[in-house]
């Protein structure tokens, strides 16, 4: 295994060298700096030949440091637990770089995000506005360092025209819709009862988190801000941020703290999956299932409160460790709660998943074939239900997962039922992981005292949230991150909805949208706006 890994690292190095690249190795991360002419070629090789997983791309304004913009593309080699950061510098007077969308379709949104927020132009692709609200002034790019975080254009938001006229029937869903609890807008084009095309406009929840972290906050405060990215998977975000900074600064965090982090992460996974099952049952009209799922979920909420002092957005993570310990009493109560929960959940889910209407509505709807799942780099249960065997807990072990053994459920059907079954199995696995961790938890401190964070270091971390892999990318700065980029799993999963909704009955659309467990507040965190009051429609993707 070790031989293999060294061998593959050598292959990556010679690949980069052959394209005039410069490689530095830092533990599990390969930093490859490449001229922009070779970008498409190296991305093609990594994604299509070596089958690396594309995670995200990050635009950085490095003008105060070296006078350039830069783009960094994050790939991971899941079989060898490697991160590959492909970086290219872009001239600041005429910021333009070739797009890699032809070879890596999943790059669509993150390139457009860099264009909106930093003003980097991408050639060889169709460009459109993605994140900023309509009416946002031209030539103001919020993530450029000279723009203050509280720059606020006077926008009074005139309502946009909903739909361009077309011969097809258009069914709008959202932005405020009883089946969706977050603002997002889907436009379904239908022929009779069948959906033939979908357009999506989201980014209603762009609050400017990244800019805030780079300007007004300090390292330790950003942990609490990261929790506010999402109210459901907040702890994943703060863990991911803390791990990325710890990796950049090479901090050795106490084992006990890592165990506690893993335990809370699994508690969060259980409550999130129970929540999703409830919502899915509600959408198919099985409200008894919804109420029961939420009833037993309340046990987990009280468990979270017992362990961390808070029902949500837990507030115990810091860089260097955690703030709350688990004592013997809490341990016993946790085990007791989990036993009760497992018994009740097993009983309930066997009934619920076999209710004829549930079975029929879930089976065979919202199909996502494996090739498309790979092409869009989808994450989490959506990927695992389509036969893509990836889970960051196993592939890029972080926190204390390397000390546990668990199964990663993978189904090949790719329908809504498979996505439900993946989540059901994961709940049982999570319960077993918490029991293993509580059994093995070592003694010792829970917080690293006294450490320095050097400037200009890069850390990138993937954390498996309930919805898929979160990616946090940090460049350290003076007292606060120089650049912090967050990529939530829904960001990669939404474009795949186009495939799932196509040629399906309209009645299944809300269920299929819910089946990716969308989390729009995570996805939208960086939104920005568009010009002349004219909204251009966001294409889910082109070239499909």
């Amino acid at each position: 295994m070790l031989m293999d890994r060294n061998h593959i690292i050598q292959e990556y190095i010679s690949l980069a060298k052959s394209l005039n690249g410069n490689v530095t190795i830092d533990n599990d991360t390969l930093h490859i700096i490449i001229p922009k002419e070779s970008l498409v070629e190296i991305a093609d090789k990594l994604f299509n030949k070596y089958q690396c997983d594309f995670r995200t791309c990050i635009g950085v304004d490095e003008r105060p440091v070296n006078g350039y913009f830069s783009m960094t593309y994050v790939f991971t080699d899941n079989r060898n637990s490697l991160y590959l950061l492909i970086k290219t510098y872009i001239d600041s007077l005429n910021p333009s770089t070739p797009s890699i969308m032809k070879v890596v379709p999943a790059v669509d949104w993150c390139e457009m995000e860099a264009r909106d927020l930093l003003g980097i132009e991408f050639t060889d692709r169709e460009q459109y506005k993605l994140v900023l609200p309509p009416g946002w002034p031209d030539n103001v790019y919020p993530l450029r360092k000279e723009v203050p975080y509280n720059y606020r254009p006077l926008l009074r938001g005139t309502s946009e025209k909903i739909s361009p006229s077309t011969e097809l029937g258009v069914i709008p869903i959202g932005p405020y819709h009883p089946a969706l609890h977050e603002p997002e807008y889907f436009e379904l084009y239908v022929e009779g009862e069948r959906v033939i095309d979908v357009k999506y406009r989201g980014f209603h929840v762009h609050r400017g988190i990244e800019k805030l972290a780079e300007t007004r906050m300090t390292y330790q405060q950003v942990n609490f801000l990261a929790e506010r990215i999402c109210g459901i998977c907040g702890f994943e975000h703060s863990t991911c941020y803390a791990l990325a900074v710890e990796k950049a600064a090479k901090l050795d965090v106490p084992e006990r703290a890592q165990y506690i982090r893993s335990i809370i992460l699994e508690v969060e996974r259980i409550h999130s999956h129970l929540l999703w099952l409830g919502v899915a049952f509600h959408v198919v009209g099985y409200d008894a299932g919804f109420m029961h799922m939420w009833r037993i979920r309340e046990k987990i909420m009280y468990l979270a409160e017992l362990l961390t002092g808070s029902r949500k957005t837990y507030g115990i993570n810091l860089i260097g460790g955690v703030r709350k310990d688990i004592n013997e009493d809490k341990k016993q109560k946790t085990l007791e709660t989990l036993r009760e929960l497992e018994k009740e959940f097993r009983e309930l889910i066997e009934i619920a998943i076999n209710v004829p209407q549930v079975k029929k509505r879930l089976s065979g709807t919202g199909l996502l074939p494996k090739e498309d799942a790979v092409k869009f780099s989808v994450e989490g249960p959506v990927a695992r239900a389509s036969g893509v065997n990836k889970d960051a807990r196993r592939d890029q072990p972080y926190a204390a997962y390397k000390y546990t053994s668990f199964k990663v459920p993978v189904y090949t059907e790719g329908d809504n039922m498979a996505r439900a079954l993946v989540r059901i199995n994961e709940i049982f696995e999570s319960i077993s992981i918490i029991e293993q961790l509580l059994d093995k938890i070592p003694r010792g401190p829970i917080m690293l005292e006294d450490f320095d964070i050097p400037e200009g270091k890069i850390g990138v971390q993937v954390v498996e949230a309930p919805r898929g892999g979160d990616v946090h990318f940090v460049i350290t700065g003076h007292g606060k991150p120089y650049r912090w980029r967050v990529r939530a799993p829904t960001y990669n999963n939404i474009p795949a909805l186009k495939i799932m909704l196509k040629d399906q009955p309209l009645a299944d659309a809300p269920l299929t949208i819910a089946s990716i467990d969308p989390c729009f507040s995570c996805t939208d965190r960086i939104l920005v706006i568009r010009e002349n009051g004219k909204r251009e429609w966001l294409r889910i993707t082109t070239g499909v």
Binding site: L132, P133, P134, G135, W136, P142, V147, Y149, N150, Y151, R152, L155, R156, G157, T158, S159, E160, P175, Y176, H177, P178, H181, E182, P183, F203, H204, V205, H206, R207, G208, K211, L212, L225, R228, I229, C230, G231, I232, G234, L275, G278, F290, M291, H292, W294, R295, E298, M301, R311, K312, T313, C519, S521, L527, V528, I529
Partner: protein
């Protein structure tokens, strides 16, 4: 509370308007409605359109993207019009009070509504980050007049 609110005291139908929140408050609202806390025993119900709503629940700092839609929804709701600002972000804008893509808190929203000539009859604030389901229950009881308000409100505003 003014007497015109008497008419809605029997069962309050609520339209949930997520104006850019992180979901935590939204999930706690659903939590308050499900069996453990069971706010439905007070006649509270989430409805699918603002036209059927007695109260509008605002969660989150209003983002620029959501603003026009939020105004439309509030305009569409019948009088008497009650707004409930939920959580730190809903009440004051929270940590986002001055970021580039929000308008910051319900106060700025009220100003914009006033410019548009949209009247608001009453506004309630539920604090917390996120709000606890118990706080939601307390607010319902307060609106229905089951409990007395226990804090005095003092308006501190530089303007």
């Amino acid at each position: 509370m003014p007497s015109k609110l008497e008419s809605i005291k029997k069962s309050i139908w609520v339209f949930h308007l997520n104006t850019g929140s992180c979901n935590a408050c939204d999930i706690e609202i659903l939590d308050a409605l499900t069996p453990f806390h069971d706010a439905e025993r007070f006649g509270v119900k989430l409805v699918g359109t603002p036209r059927h709503a007695d109260a509008i629940l605002l969660t989150g700092p209003t983002t620029l993207e959501a603003l026009p839609k939020v105004i439309n929804a509030i305009e569409a709701s019948p009088r008497p019009r009650i707004l409930i600002a939920l959580g730190s972000c809903g009440s004051s804008g929270g940590i986002w009070h001055d970021t580039y893509s929000t308008i910051g808190g319900v106060n700025s929203l009220l100003k914009i509504l006033k410019e548009r000539g949209v009247d608001v009859d009453a506004i309630y604030y539920i604090p917390g980050c996120p709000v606890r389901p118990e706080a939601v229950l307390y607010a319902i009881a307060l609106i229905k007049g089951i409990v007395e308000k226990r804090v005095k409100s003092v308006v501190l505003n530089a303007e």
